[in-house]
């Protein structure tokens, strides 16, 4: 949105300022009379200025193009131009009281070409640049709205619809004012918002905003009613998919979220405001008077008397304390653009005093977060599948799913919430463990693979409180899924909790990719025979290192064990090479010497001759 400051009809200068631009555009133009309307085309290529009711003047701002102004009169005889809108950098629509005219601007030729026109009686019009839709108010009462949609040189007429007026008007005069209508895109859909004032004849408790969904195809449907529960002067904005309704009398605003649950009556959903009415807070500048405010869609507020332009933003932090139902709060936050840190702080808050939530509330919150997380993972997965299958070229609409801030994954939860929470140790350990288990339950419910660091956190917490039997039971039911790192972690617990040894070995065996580890574990415990049996069981005994097993057997200081192991390898040598003696490459000389010392030279196996 740009603001034009036109002095002396442009002769002394025009300054164009936007919200973001640090460098305003300034230029001069000839004073040819009072400027009714002035607008740049997209990309600031061409300036259109309306000075009379019959024509619009154009001025090129393209480098190296003709600098002289040129004019286009409206085609329809006796029609007055109500205004115009740019639909692209070179396409413009004139709206007259008798119809619309769609032109292409040819800046090089300094002329316009009519692309299409449509005759229709127009009371007023409204343009939504985001969706390139122009809405025309027609009929005597003005409550039949005709939308048009523009896209690259084409104009399509969408189906018209009638706004239900609060009471049957007494006289045949214009009954629907442009002030009470707004157009905005909410959750990706275009809506026409109608501010229906309180009527004394109906039983309504106050004014309401009626939302009509305007689809690109098909007819327009009344879908939502936002209850304002008060009367007076209102203005509305749409920001971050929220409908914000300002009430002038009380200088407060209320927020509606049409994605939140409402009361469904079969065709429309009735919503109450999400938060109690609050005043919007002006940024830096104190405001004296709100009566001169003008509101533009979607999120602009202009104070005409003071010369300020604001864009409205939603601050999420205060919402946390206004919405006490944590489930509803999550539903609300998850739809907001900048929600991540706020959500994480809500999670931290509900886990610690003084506002500790109950486990069922915590479960609800985790489920809502993981629902969103899972949706993203699924989208990502199906995208990857399509790409890998090489189908991405045949489907040009395919886009990598966008990861919004509402996707709060395990690492976010771990870093910002759970690890901090477990380290603080202010909560009773029962609660700490219950929370961790609840998070793991929720992940499992949504079939999300749990990351190792969460298991580690659970184990750490259980070990700290000597809750080994609890840990044991969790492992028994595979709540902590098998993995090599987990098995190693268990192994490290063996000195404080001996059964961890068996748990760890069982896990390694189930993994079936950890055979080397199993052998190492058994050898380190001098369970040489068990190690040998295991490796034989999986058919790996022909390739293992004899030296490694003989070393372990020797360390066990059990002569019979050493004898058995030594004999096993002699037999292996015989079987593989036809000779029981060890080859120099096996580095077993030391063990052969030891064997001879203990059992005598004659105990060595004799080569079998055929």
């Amino acid at each position: 949105p740009d603001v034009f400051a036109v002095r002396s009809g442009g002769a002394t200068g025009v300054v164009v300022k936007g919200l973001e631009d640090r460098n305003p555009i300034s230029f001069r133009m000839e004073d040819k009379g009072e400027v009714k309307c002035i607008k740049f085309s997209l990309g600031n290529k061409i300036l259109a200025v309306q000075r009379t009711l019959k024509s619009v003047d154009f001025l090129n701002f393209i480098p190296d193009s003709p600098q002289l102004e040129y004019t286009q009169e409206c085609k329809t005889k006796n029609a007055n131009i109500l205004g115009f809108c740019w639909t692209s950098s070179t396409e413009i629509v004139f709206i007259t009281d008798q119809g619309i005219e769609f032109y292409q601007v040819l800046p090089e030729k300094r002329s316009l070409k009519l692309l299409k026109n449509q005759s229709i009686n127009v009371n007023w019009y409204m343009y939504c640049p985001e969706s390139s839709v122009i809405l025309l108010s027609t009929t005597v009462l003005g409550n039949v709205l005709q939308p048009f949609y523009f896209k690259s040189g084409t104009m399509s007429k969408l189906s018209k619809f009638e706004i239900e007026l609060p009471a049957a008007p007494k006289s045949s005069k214009l009954s629907l004012s442009e002030r009470d209508i707004a157009m905005a895109t909410i959750y990706g859909q275009l809506y026409v918002l109608y501010l229906r004032h309180h009527s004394r004849t109906s039983n309504s408790t106050g004014a309401e905003v009626v939302l009509y969904q305007l689809p690109r195809e098909g007819s327009c449907k009344k879908t939502h009613i936002l209850k304002l529960n008060r009367t007076g002067k209102f203005a509305l904005n749409v920001v971050d998919n929220l409908v914000v309704v300002h009430h002038q009398d009380t200088e407060t605003s209320v927020i509606f979220d049409i994605k939140l649950k409402g009361e469904f009556d079969g065709s429309t959903t009735i919503h109450q405001f999400v938060l109690p009415p609050r005043s919007i807070q002006p940024y830096q500048i104190p405001v004296a008077d709100s009566s001169s405010w003008i509101v533009f869609q979607p999120d602009i507020i202009i104070s005409a008397s003071e010369g300020y332009l604001w864009s409205l933003q939603v601050k999420l932090e205060p919402v946390v304390n206004l919405l006490l139902d944590k489930g509803k709060l999550m539903d609300f936050l998850l739809q907001r653009k900048e929600c991540k840190m706020v959500i994480l702080s809500v999670c931290s808050q509900m886990l610690s005093e003084p506002e500790r939530g109950s486990l069922s509330v915590i479960a609800t919150v985790f489920d809502k977060l993981n629902h969103e997380y899972k949706k993203y993972l699924e989208a990502e997965q199906s995208y990857t599948m399509v790409v890998e299958a090489g189908l991405s070229r045949s489907n040009p609409l395919l886009k990598r799913p966008v990861r919004t801030q509402a996707v709060i994954d395990q690492s976010d939860m771990y870093t910002h919430v759970l690890s901090v929470f477990t380290e603080k140790k202010e909560a009773p350990h029962k609660f700490t463990i219950a929370v961790l288990m609840e998070y793991i339950r929720s992940l499992n419910q949504f079939q999300i693979a749990v990351q190792h660091y969460l298991y580690e956190l659970v184990i750490k917490t259980l070990v700290q409180h000597n809750l080994f039997y609890m840990l044991h039971q969790f492992l028994q039911y595979h709540v902590l899924s098998d993995s090599k790192p987990l098995a190693c972690l268990l192994l490290s617990l063996e000195s404080i909790y001996p059964p961890a040894h068996q748990l760890s070995l069982d896990m390694l065996k189930r993994l079936s990719t950890a055979n080397d580890e199993i052998v190492e574990v058994l050898l380190s415990k001098h369970q040489v025979l068990a190690a040998l049996r295991f490796i034989r069981g999986i058919g790996g005994h022909d390739s293992i290192s004899a030296r490694k097993f003989l070393d372990a057997a020797k360390q066990a200081e059990d002569d019979m064990l050493f004898y058995t192991i030594f004999r096993f390898f002699e037999q292996r040598n015989q079987r593989l090479r036809g000779n029981p003696s060890f080859t120099p490459g096996e580095h077993c000389e030391e063990h052969v010497t030891f064997f001879k010392q203990v059992f005598g030279e004659q105990a060595l196996m004799k080569p079998t001759t055929f």
Binding site: Q473, Q476, H478
Partner: protein, 476 residues
């Protein structure tokens, strides 16, 4: 014989009814004054035995223990074998001794047309009955606390009263005839369950403990099998035994017992559910209902906690809430528990049932196996037996020939003598093979009846897969 171990021996089996419990004695060593006195005897069953004989018998036990202690100060005699009896000694607390005398089985033979009775001295397994004796103590301790605690509470008088009150009834529930290897293990049967349902149960327990904030520990069982224990292993082991051999059988599902379904005419607004108290009040709508729950003692070596045991059941799911004994549960509390736990436990029970049936279907219908087994894991006390069948609510009987059970017991005795992994294969009568296998902390006993099976076939199998593959993949 300091530690008698039964030897593997083929013998004729005598009807097990002859294994009786003629005597059970408890005495306290430190009360010894000069000579042997009656005072020392804390409990004697049967009580009808003449006073002097009691004193004599106790004196003999004491003498044997003292005598063997000179040879082995830390491990005095555990059992004494005589022709007619076997005596088992157990010192559960310092200076408190429990002695149990079991009569050897008798074989009736005919010699010259006259019946002659021969005592089967090697028939009884030491480990079985010494385990039974230890469990007697554990069960006493669960409901009464330690002997020492009773002494502190009110001296010998209180201890004697408690022993009399407890053992008078308990000894009658011991089915010594049907004791076997399972009594040695005194294990816990775990209910196989998928991860998600298990997590749901976890979540349920945590939320219940939060809502009923006086609950200290919770245990959860389904189909008389354990799913979760908040108690430590040793306490759970004996509580599990109490629940599955005493409490649950007394409260069979009313539907099974042919009574009316327990869905009650609910008060308006209440959710319908199948929950009911197995301990505590019978009728919550009766304002005079007594909220008395059994007291149990746990962690007696450490924190020594006294708790009320609330057992609540909905369909096949039973949950035990244990609350501090200093907080007497009121009728209001019981109603609250019923209204919160009842509906949720009912839902959970049907969830578990459904999930269990799905898992069963996935793993295939249970075929008639060619083998039967007993499995036990010392580490988590997990036990599984396809040998035992439930004959009456409180007794499960082995479905194989007693001789085979005896072989299992003998193999077990062999295993307990060494720490190493071992495997023993026995060829028993009429095509039976018995395989005993010990690996790390696990023991497995398989009985096969395969015509013409040979040693190589029997030896070549990885029997440990057997208990692991039944019903679900859970390794216990």
């Amino acid at each position: 014989s300091r530690r008698n171990t039964a030897k593997l021996k083929q013998g004729q089996w005598r009807a097990p009814e002859s294994v009786r419990l003629p005597q059970s004695v408890m005495y306290q060593e430190s009360l010894r004054v000069t000579g042997f006195e009656e005072k020392k005897i804390l409990f004697y069953h049967p009580n009808e035995v003449e006073k002097n004989e009691k004193i004599r018998n106790v004196g003999l036990c004491e003498a044997i223990v003292q005598f063997t202690r000179t040879f082995s100060p830390t491990k005095p005699a555990k059992s004494l074998h005589t022709q007619k009896n076997r005596q088992f000694f157990h010192e559960p607390e310092e200076n408190f001794w429990m002695v149990m005398v079991v009569r050897n089985p008798i074989i009736e033979k005919h010699k010259d047309g006259k019946p002659v009775y021969e005592y089967q001295e090697e028939e009884l397994l030491d480990k079985v009955y010494s385990s039974v004796l230890q469990q007697c103590y554990s069960m006493y301790k669960l409901f009464n606390g330690t002997f020492l605690k009773a002494m502190e509470d009110g001296g010998v008088k209180v201890l004697k009263e408690r022993l009399e009150k407890f053992f008078h009834r308990y000894l009658q529930t011991l089915h010594l005839q049907s004791c076997d290897l399972l009594d040695v293990f005194c294990g816990i049967s775990f209910f196989p369950l998928d991860k998600m349902t298990y997590l749901k149960i976890q979540s349920f327990i945590n939320r219940m403990e939060e809502s009923l904030n006086i609950v200290k520990y919770t245990a959860f069982l389904y189909n008389d099998q354990l799913i979760w224990s908040g108690l430590e292993q040793d306490d759970m082991r004996i509580l599990y035994k109490y629940l599955t051999t005493s409490l649950f059988p007394r409260h069979m599902e009313p539907e099974l017992a042919g009574r009316d379904s327990p869905i009650r005419a609910e008060m308006p607004g209440n959710l319908q559910h199948y929950g009911r108290f197995l301990t505590g009040p019978l009728n919550l709508n009766d304002p005079e209902a007594k909220c008395r729950f059994p007291k149990i003692f746990v962690n007696t070596d450490d924190t020594y906690e006294e708790l009320h045991l609330i057992v609540y059941k909905a369909m096949s799911a039973a949950v035990c809430f244990m609350i501090d004994a200093s907080i007497p549960p009121t009728l209001e509390f019981c109603r609250k528990l019923d209204s919160i736990v009842g509906p949720q436990l009912t839902m959970l029970a049907s969830d578990i049932c459904e999930q269990y049936n799905i898992n069963k279907r996935i793993s295939g219908a249970e075929k008639e196996p060619q083998f039967k087994f007993i499995y036990f894991n010392h580490m988590n006390l997990a036990e599984k037996s396809t040998i035992h069948m439930r004959k009456t609510p409180s007794v499960s009987l082995a479905s194989v020939h007693p001789d085979l059970m005896k072989i299992l017991g003998d193999i077990n005795s062999d295993f307990s003598r060494v720490d190493e992994d071992e495997e023993i294969i026995v060829k028993a009568m009429s095509d039976y093979w018995v395989v005993g296998k010990k690996s790390d902390q696990r023991e497995l006993y398989v009985i096969l009846n395969q015509k013409n099976a040979n040693l190589i076939e029997v030896n070549g199998k990885d029997w440990f897969l057997l208990p692991l593959n039944t019903v679900t993949k859970n390794t216990f």
